[in-house]
């Protein structure tokens, strides 16, 4: 038996021993078909899923290569049932192909007659198909391309889409590489995406996803529609595009609640597209307003459900999804796969961190004891109020003050969920507060001041969770959160993960009230962060004063 770095489990997980001499080799080999699930310091675990295997097929990997990889690097025998399952699952991809037929237009073609029969007999699929041409081919209504792909995936017969894309209106876009260049992995991501046609690029927060988008636009040389999560993020995209490409102010339009411009490159928010008035989506025509050659989806894992529906109708246009994680809290990974496309590039956080493109992070949980009266109040509270009570304890504010004092001079964010608490903290720390009601202009001003170092401490609510670039923040203190959601953690940490000028480790504090719901959520957070491979320590609030926390 070879002494490999992998242990393949019968529950479809793969363990990778990181310190093994073949670990890097094995990691690259399995990354193509397995999703990294947990990456703590010594043993990483990957999961084999149908989507992951189909992603691998889409990338040109066949079942035999996957099996050989597993057998080659596995320390122990690989469960036979798993091998059979992999072979079976992978053989399902590509038996159905969507193609352009010169005579009939869009057709669904198969190499395997019974599969087509099975598919044709599915009730939901029948109405999407036109007349049958021969035993292996059936006409598809071109408007149903997306929906068909979605349903076929649900049936377990994902179709490979060879029907091609419309060219879109040409528009010259060039990357302005003055004093900076595309990082190697960004280049690779764009190449993979372009070769695959459509799909998703997975990069950790802070690894420069915007640049991947810009480079894709420069490759496409067409008009582009960019869909982002919110207005602030739209502004940032615009700034970044102005800085990094040949595009000028006049060529970039913003389509949001406030402004509605349609220009060769248009940045729209998910929210404006999904606004419903009288049962209709009034801004839907934006999608057809221009002959878009490329559509970029930012933060794919947050794509709201109605956007999927709209995307189903955009199958003839190239689609690029950008995200930090394929995991969706709502479990709609399958729709991302079928409608936007398979994963085209994925770089583990640790790899990019190791290359020095993102800063290492150090997570510290600070446990505070609630005073006796607060504990009694907590114990008597209704379930619905409990979290608020423990999360907003006054003792936390003291700890925050001490932490801020300990990190004097560093750029520091205080993040919280409850506005009262944030206002109180803002007053105590003499720091500005950014919350939902802060105007976009004011937010922009404060962020600019923070970036330039005029302000050292900023108190922010959850509006700051997504897509705000604060590269100079090196310390974050979280006082309350929304029940330990994995997304939120990743985003908050992402705020701090931009590379620092002096290569310092970013520090992420969480202040937690002991023996309360807060601690339960902290346990989840600890697990998630440790599984992502971050150093994680727990301190008692009392010990902050004596031991210097930045040691």
């Amino acid at each position: 038996m070879v002494d490999g770095p992998l242990i393949v489990q019968s529950d479809k997980t793969i363990l990778l021993e990181v310190d093994h001499e073949q670990a890097t080799e094995a990691r690259h080999a399995i990354a193509a078909f397995a999703e990294l699930e947990r990456a703590p310091e010594h043993v990483h675990s990957y999961r084999l899923t149908p989507l992951g295997l189909w992603n691998a097929r889409a990338a040109g990997l066949d079942a035999e290569r996957v099996l050989d990889t597993l057998l080659k690097y596995s320390r122990f025998p690989v469960p036979h049932a798993l091998l059979i399952d992999i072979e079976d699952t992978m053989s399902r991809y590509g038996r159905l192909r969507l193609e352009k037929d010169p005579q009939h237009g869009l057709v669904l073609r198969t190499t395997d007659y019974p599969v087509l029969e099975e598919v044709l007999h599915a009730k939901k699929i029948q109405p999407l198909l036109g007349p049958r041409i021969d035993g292996e081919t059936v006409v598809v209504h071109s408007s149903q391309r997306g929906q068909l792909k979605q349903l076929l995936l649900k049936l377990g017969w994902p179709a490979e889409d060879f029907a091609g894309y419309v060219d879109g209106t040409p528009h010259p876009i060039v990357l302005a590489e003055d004093g900076w260049t595309l990082r190697p992995y960004q280049k690779l991501a764009v190449e993979n995406f372009w070769a695959g046609g459509s799909g998703v690029v997975v990069l950790p927060c802070g690894a420069g996803k915007t640049l991947v988008g810009a480079a894709a636009m420069a490759t496409s040389q067409t008009t582009t529609l960019i869909l982002v999560t919110n207005t602030v993020s739209a502004r940032q995209w615009k700034d970044e595009l102005l800085k990094r490409t040949s595009l000028t102010e006049e060529e970039i339009g913003e389509y949001s609640g406030a402004v509605k411009e349609v220009r060769p490159v248009t940045i729209a928010t998910y929210q404006v597209l999904t606004t419903k008035r009288g049962g209709l989506y009034p801004h839907l025509e934006l999608l057809d307003a221009n002959d878009w050659g490329l559509i970029v989806y930012d933060e794919v894992h947050l794509l709201p459900a109605p956007i999927f529906k709209m995307t189903a109708d955009l199958q003839a246009r190239r689609r690029l999804g950008l995200t930090a994680t394929l995991v969706r809290e709502d479990g709609r990974e399958g729709e991302v796969f079928s409608l936007i496309g398979p994963k085209r590039y994925d770089a583990p956080w640790k790899d990019i961190e190791a290359q020095g493109y993102i800063a290492p992070a150090d997570c510290v949980e600070v446990r505070v004891d609630l005073p006796r009266d607060e504990r009694v109040a907590y114990a008597m509270a209704e379930d619905g109020d409990k979290y608020r009570l423990c999360a907003t304890s006054d003792t936390k504010s003291d700890v925050v003050e001490r932490l801020v004092a300990a990190h004097e001079g560093e750029q520091l964010l205080v993040i919280g969920q409850y506005i009262d608490q944030l206002d109180d903290l803002g007053a105590r720390l003499d720091a500005p507060v950014i919350k939902g009601e802060t105007t976009v202009r004011e937010r922009q001003r404060l962020f600019d001041a923070f970036r330039s170092g005029e302000i050292h401490v900023l108190v922010v609510s959850k509006v700051a969770n997504f897509s705000i670039d604060l590269p100079e923040a090196s310390v974050a203190i979280q006082v309350s959160g929304s029940f330990g959601s994995r997304q939120e953690e990743a985003q908050r940490l992402g705020r701090l993960l931009r590379p620092k000028a002096d290569g310092r480790a970013a520090r992420f504090y969480t202040v937690v009230a002991r023996d309360t719901l807060d601690q339960d959520f902290a346990a989840k957070r600890q697990r998630f962060l440790a599984e992502q491979g971050y150093a994680y320590r727990i301190l008692d609030a009392a010990s902050i004063g004596d031991t210097k926390p930045s040691e």
Partner: protein, 804 residues
Amino acid sequence: MSAIRALADQLARRSDDDLRRLLTLRPDLILPAVPDFAALAARASTRASLQRALDNVNRPELQVLETVTVLSEDDGGAVDRARLAAALPGSDGDVLKVILSRLVERALLAVAPEGGLLPVGALADALGPYPAGLGRPFRTLARTVPRFGPALVDAVPLLAPGSSSEALTSAAAARIIDSITSQPAAWQDVLAGAPEGASALLARLRDAPVGSTATDTASNGGVTPAVRWLLDRCLLAPLDALHVELPRGVGIALRGHTVFTALDVAPPLEIERTTRPALRDNASFGAIAETLRLMTALLGSVAAAPVTTLRSGGVGVRELRRVREALRVSEADAAWLLELAAAVGLLTLDPDDSRWKASRLDAWEALGRDAQWLLLVEGWLAVDRAPALVGSRLPDGTGINTLAAEASRPDAPMVRQRLLSVATELSPAGGAEPSGPQLPVLTDQAVIALATWHQPRLQRRFTRLLPGMLAEAQSLGLTGGGALTDAGRLVAEGRLEEAARSVREALPTPVSHVVLQADLTAVAPGYLEPDVARGLLRMSTPEGQGPATTYRFSADSIRGALDAGEDAPSILAFLALHSATEIPQALTYLVEDTASRYGSLRVGRAGSYVRTEDDAVAATVLADPRAAVLGVVQIAPTVLVSAASPQELVALLRDLGFSPATDATGSVPTTSARTDTDREPGQYRMPPEQLRSRLNPWSVAEEEVAAQLATLRSARPGSADHPAASDSETLLGLETLRAAIRSRSRIRLGTADSEGNHVRQILVPLSVSGGRLRVFDPENQVEKVVSVHRVMDVEILEGSPSDG
């Protein structure tokens, strides 16, 4: 001379070696021992013994036996070899000779004085009513199927134009039709006139003589012309409105006037698929490791909570689901593991509470992994149950429960041996190197086909049991990816110790360290030493399935370890000892934090308590030696507790000169049910060497055969004529009766009546079965039934056929 006596003489003339071979092949002949050759011959002629022997003949041998039976039933005489060869086309003379000598050797065929062959004893009975898949002869059908006799008479003119049916008896008509079907030319003439569809119907019935004509019903509800035509000519016998039987003569004619179209000399060794040795070994060793892991998990789970049985027997669905969820396996796998554990004796049924308990967990864990594997394999080979039947439906629609009696199959060990031998036969030896040739995959069909060739009489059993057993062999690593493994081959050859050694070499050595991580897990990179695993299980929750186990620490799990008497330093020391890496700060914090909070409330059990305001009083009570008898202890300065009841404690305190008052409320229950966890660990401890399953194939030892031979040879030569009080006498009588039934002769039957008087009557025997003899009394023109055990003597009245 009677057939049995003739056989006895033949047996007596055999050499010792020949006899030894016979007795080894048919061990039931001397279990129990027989006194002389007549008894031996008689036992060899019984239906039960013959059936057992028939179970062990292969397809060509069975074909020959059936052919001899069919041909000798034709005319009641011995079958000469030329006629036999003619009825079995394609049979090479030498092959036939070998087969015949094997059958004679096994005393299934007897050689007649003139050299012909005769079926032994009740062979025709043992073969059943349709030997060689042929229907019954015309003359039997004429007797048993209502109105078929007259129909035969009417059919003669239709089949042989020009002949008349006048004054024909049905027996004579049967003879005429027999002669027509046996002549190729005449048969062709008959078929030439058949309407459309007749030949298709005949072809369908050729190998399965009884069939339905339901599909041949015409649109008007009546039978189709083809069926009508065949029925009119008696080429089909109507059994009821829908079913017909193809008479034997017609069947033989359809097979080209032979009993079998060909002798199946070559065993079916075709293989559909192949696999690579590397894949095979991967699958096999993976399966072994997984089975052993699951077995340990199962025993651990059952030790914690025994599995209850249903009143109707077996383990119910709910209990099975519990086991399934604990092990995270499919229901079928859970059932299989329970069955296997019970087969080996790792699970035993406690008769007191009808629960299956894991009585030997310690002994199991003390075994090396190869020894564990060997134990399972031996248990599997020996167990007389078919675990794969669990979950299947009985005819009444109820399912078979795990460990229920319905899955018992006494022949299961034999079927398993056959499976292994067939697997060896299908897999050519050699090819152990990973890049070697492709290995054949043992599919259900291939295995069943070959097993059935070897033992055609067991086809139904093989079809039902073999697929399940093949899957079981796979989970024990005897096959991997469908191909026989080296270990499997060694097991098939009975070299179990060597097989265990090969498994030991292949299984990775156990690891004794884990990797601790900041996400509060410990990952064991392989099979963990049982001691370390037990220690970890006390303080963490296992996760994941496969060769590596992940142990997750949480405040709850640490609390479990604290409950078990550990404290923070001992937990951390254990982790430090077995961790390959440093203990993460978060884990140390968790352990210390949990330990420091542990025990802020304390709970114990007491029968009674004493409260007082004055700790001096408490000290007085404690100081008295009688207090110790009642188990009084101080748990706080002013609180004492005792194991005794409040009444006893009050009595003691009064004795000491106090005047205690009894608290009305807050009574503490004084008794509580002892739980299983109260049991001392290791109470069932047994030495590992006792954990051996017994292999118990049905066989006789060589000494027994030798002793039997000595007895046979020492019996006086003449004794065969006067078998004293042995079962052979009854059999001789039965044989005479059967002969009389065949020849339809009258007999003089001596019976004992209800008062014990010897009564002699002249009777015509009709049939004998189930210990009853049906006779016709020609004097009173009535039918009677006589119990065989009342028969004292039988004498055939020669030359007296009872009818025309």
